[in-house]
């Protein structure tokens, strides 16, 4: 693995490997929905989706078909903090593919007709999210936790925000937010390192940075009072529950301990305290899990499940009991099992070039050490019970936000204060 900075500050990680005649590319820009201006919620997402549709020279159908003819596809998608771009190419088409990618980064088309189609699809997506209660409850939860912070601006935006967008907003957002000095690229697979490096210097290293420095986000504040958010949807069968609060950031010193503690609590799809209690013992849910959604300046810790409305109260109480219990620490056996799982399963996470490329861009963005892959296993092995207990306490400490969507009423409120 080799990591360098291009002249304009773009981070590039190259990992040549000749196992398969395939090349995967991953690309991150710090241009996600946290940068949506007030009143223009949804702009980052519409900008990314419009951008992937062509260049000044090549309109949508021709541009897309050049990718399709080589068996590939370019996707750019906005998340909360990041825009992620990715593509996989057969080795013999890799230069064509990289060249098309460079074209669109240097000179996106941003046609008004593309903007209108993308905006219509974004509105459609908002409607589709209303039809999916998991999405409804998830939005309630994230907005409930991040209330007032930029992390409350979710990628799909709002109807009012989408309505307010003008075609010119896209170019302005792109010029200000797609900064090469805040961009991270990785190429993994069967390619010639020197050739690709020269290509990247020439075609991407020359992209200009906007004047000034990139703005930094303030940390996500704590939630000090219980918040209960209910969306009543009598026509549905299940109620979706999201219970949690602010979590740990991607750079947190307790990050690995939190991963291990959460594995014991509900991070594992194989076996976990929440799964044993809520799924296996009580049969209340098809699936229940807990997760820390990490961001650069905070995180969201959440327990999620779906159940019949009459079971909501019991389920919430059961989750709370497990949160209280994990804050007391884990058993020696649980610690051993978590360490064994996390170290033993580590190679399973890197079975494709695409997965490796995404790992490299993500780790560069979060500033993880370059020897992350080599040190991960010894760092997990070195975790002790006290580390997990401390991390678990911190994870669940702010779990004061309960979001429920489904055939439940306002009378659910007292449950949230338990």
């Amino acid at each position: 693995m080799k990591r360098i900075l291009l002249k304009n500050g773009m981070s590039v990680t190259l990992q040549p490997d000749r196992t398969d005649p395939v090349v995967a590319v991953s690309l991150l820009f710090r241009a996600g929905s946290v940068l949506d201006p007030d009143g223009r919620e949804g702009l980052a997402n519409v900008c990314a989706d419009t951008m992937e549709r062509g260049t000044s020279a090549l309109e949508f159908v021709e541009f897309s078909r050049r990718f399709e003819r080589i068996g590939s596809n370019l996707s750019l998608g906005a998340g909360s903090e990041l825009v992620h771009g990715g593509a996989t190419f057969l080795k013999r088409h890799a230069e064509t593919g990289l060249s098309l990618l460079a074209d669109v980064l240097a000179d996106p088309g941003f046609r008004e007709s593309d903007f209108e189609i993308v905006r219509a699809l974004a509105r459609n997506d908002l409607d589709a999210r209303e039809d999916d209660l998991d999405d409804v409850a998830e939005d309630l939860f994230f907005r409930g936790v991040a209330d007032g912070h930029a992390y409350a601006k979710l990628p799909h935006g709002t109807r009012e925000g989408l309505d307010a967008l003008r075609p010119g907003d896209l170019r302005a957002f792109h010029a200000g937010s797609y900064r090469p000095d805040r961009a991270f690229l990785a190429v993994v697979g069967d390619f010639d390192e020197g050739r690709v490096l020269r290509f990247l210097e020439e075609r991407l290293g020359t992209l200009p940075n906007p004047p000034g420095e990139a703005a930094e986000l303030p940390p996500l504040p704590a939630v000090t009072e219980p918040r209960v958010l209910v969306r009543t949807r009598p026509e549905k069968t299940q109620a979706k529950i999201y219970l949690g609060g602010p979590g740990l950031s991607a750079g947190d010193p307790d990050r690995l301990a939190a991963i291990a503690a959460n594995h014991v609590l509900g991070g594992s799809s194989i076996r976990s305290r929440l799964g044993d209690e809520i799924r296996d013992k009580r049969g209340l849910a098809y699936s229940v899990y807990s997760r820390n959604f990490e961001r650069s300046n905070g995180g969201f810790f959440v327990v999620h499940m779906g159940t019949r409305p009459e079971n909501v109260q019991g389920a919430v109480e059961a989750i709370r009991e497990e949160l209280a219990r994990i804050a007391q620490g884990v058993t020696g056996q649980e610690l051993d099992d978590a360490r064994a799982y996390l170290t033993g399963s580590f190679p399973l996470r890197f079975t494709t070039y695409g997965k490796l490329a995404r790992f490299w861009t993500r780790s560069a963005f979060y500033g993880w050490p370059e020897d992350y892959l080599e040190t991960y296993v010894p760092r997990i092995r070195a975790l002790e019970a006290a580390d997990l207990r401390r991390a678990a306490e911190r994870l669940v400490a702010g779990a004061r936000v309960l979001a429920v969507a489904g055939p439940v009423g306002e009378d659910l409120r007292p449950v949230g204060n338990g």
Binding site: S64, R65, G71, T88, I270
Partner: protein, 416 residues
């Protein structure tokens, strides 16, 4: 370039092994030739329920012990049930992959079905079913399939009808297990950083002494030709209308199933596929999919469109029929066919990288009688020409013999 090796043990278990992959990782799975296709009315969903019970303990492993064992070894384990097959699999680091065989050989013969566990798992499955039915497109597809398919067991959902799930007994589960879970009705698939020779030796050690199992007599009703168009309509409290069209489709391995697979890829799947240009790019629809996975018996191809508020479904349906008729009338261009083939071929090669995806693919085709087809299909598709694709569209996309379902936003409920 395929390195797939295959042997059959004396008890009838076929073993498929392939060395490939980037890292020290091994996928190992057992696929049984049983699914919702092998069920009958009154016991629908039993294959899926049995799959759930396979995680609830055996003679050697108490409940939870398999999960603990896999976890302690840093593995993954899971399973899925489909119409034709049920597959159980583990993924481990290459230095401990044989543990998967220890678990699967035990589960093949020594399942314990505890009454209390069965009741608890029944509730879990009813929650799973409720979860699916809260998604409008899934509910609509289930209703449409049940209305349009006449004889084939593919007419009921894999998860089963609610009343059947509620009524299945412990004796039913054990009977289903006894009939279908045996080496003669199964295949072991191992893919990853391990020599096929080692795989065959380990398979003999772990599975070789298991009796082959009973002869299985299958009398699966074959779906007759459709003779009419079935229309259904659902009214639900949703934001978006949905339109779905279902066609009868040919079984796996046939020339027509291959041509129809290309038809599906010309119609949808990329940003500039025909239906995407006709409906999504004109703001008449949002999400759009054409689903066709050929199965052991004639099954179905589904065209599913998520509409836009304010665009009548009649208009969407009109455009759909126009596009389907155009394909049958004018055929495809060479460039269009070439683009579709390049997509299929590239995706095939990309999927080789993941041991799990490769293992699922090999298991699926081994269970359908021809593991080599997992790779030869790409070449067979390349042999098809524009005339074949046009002819398949004309034969199978028949407006007078299909199912059409509309979901309209309104005051209706799902009975809750």
């Amino acid at each position: 370039m395929s390195a797939v090796e295959r042997r059959t043990l004396d008890n009838g278990l076929t073993v498929v092994a392939e060395r490939r992959g980037l890292g020290p990782v091994v996928f190992a799975g057992v696929v049984y030739r049983v699914g919702s296709r092998d069920e009958r009315p009154g016991l629908t969903g039993i294959s899926h329920l049995l799959e759930h019970m396979m995680f609830k303990g055996t003679r050697k492993y108490a409940k939870g012990e398999v999960a603990a064992l896999v976890e302690r070894n840093g593995g993954e384990l899971n399973a899925f049930t489909s119409e034709d097959v049920t597959m159980y699999y583990e993924v481990f680091a290459a230095d401990r992959w044989e543990l998967a065989l220890e678990i699967e050989s035990e589960r093949m013969v020594n399942l314990a079905v505890d009454e209390a566990e069965l009741e608890s798992e029944r509730q879990v499955i009813l929650e799973e079913r409720a979860m699916y039915l809260d998604i409008p497109a899934i509910e609509l597809a289930e209703e449409l399939t049940a209305a349009a398919v006449r004889e084939s067991p593919y007419r009921w959902p894999i998860i089963g009808w609610e009343a059947d799930i509620a009524a299945i007994t412990r004796a039913d589960v054990l009977e289903h297990y006894g009939r279908y879970y045996a080496p003669g009705n199964a295949a072991l698939v191992v893919v990853g950083d391990v020599e096929p020779g080692e795989v065959f030796a380990a398979a003999e050690r772990r599975f070789g002494s298991i009796p082959g199992g009973p002869e299985i007599e299958r009398r699966v009703p074959r779906e007759p030709e459709w003779t009419r168009t079935t229309r259904i309509e659902l009214v639900r409290q949703t934001q978006l209308p949905q339109l779905q069209i279902l066609f009868r489709a040919p079984e796996i391995g046939t020339r027509d199933s291959e041509a129809l697979f290309l038809v599906a890829n010309v119609l949808s799947g990329t940003k500039t596929s025909r239906l995407d240009l006709a409906l999504v790019e004109t703001n008449k629809a949002g999400d759009l999919q054409v689903q066709f996975h050929p199965k052991a018996d004639p099954s179905t191809m589904l065209v599913a469109v998520e509409g836009q508020p304010g665009v009548p479904l009649e208009e969407v349906e009109g455009i759909l029929w126009e596009e389907l008729a155009r394909l049958a009338r004018d055929g495809v261009t060479e460039e269009e066919l070439d683009r579709a083939l390049n997509q299929v071929e590239a995706h095939h090669l990309f999927a080789l990288q993941s041991p799990s995806n490769r293992g699922f693919l090999l298991g699926w085709h081994e269970a359908h009688g021809d593991v080599a087809y997992a790779d030869t299909i790409v070449g067979r598709l390349r042999e098809l020409n524009a005339v074949d694709v046009q002819a398949a569209a004309g034969r199978w996309l028949d407006r007078g013999r299909c199912g059409v379902a509309r979901l309209l936003p309104g005051a209706g409920g799902n009975g809750a």
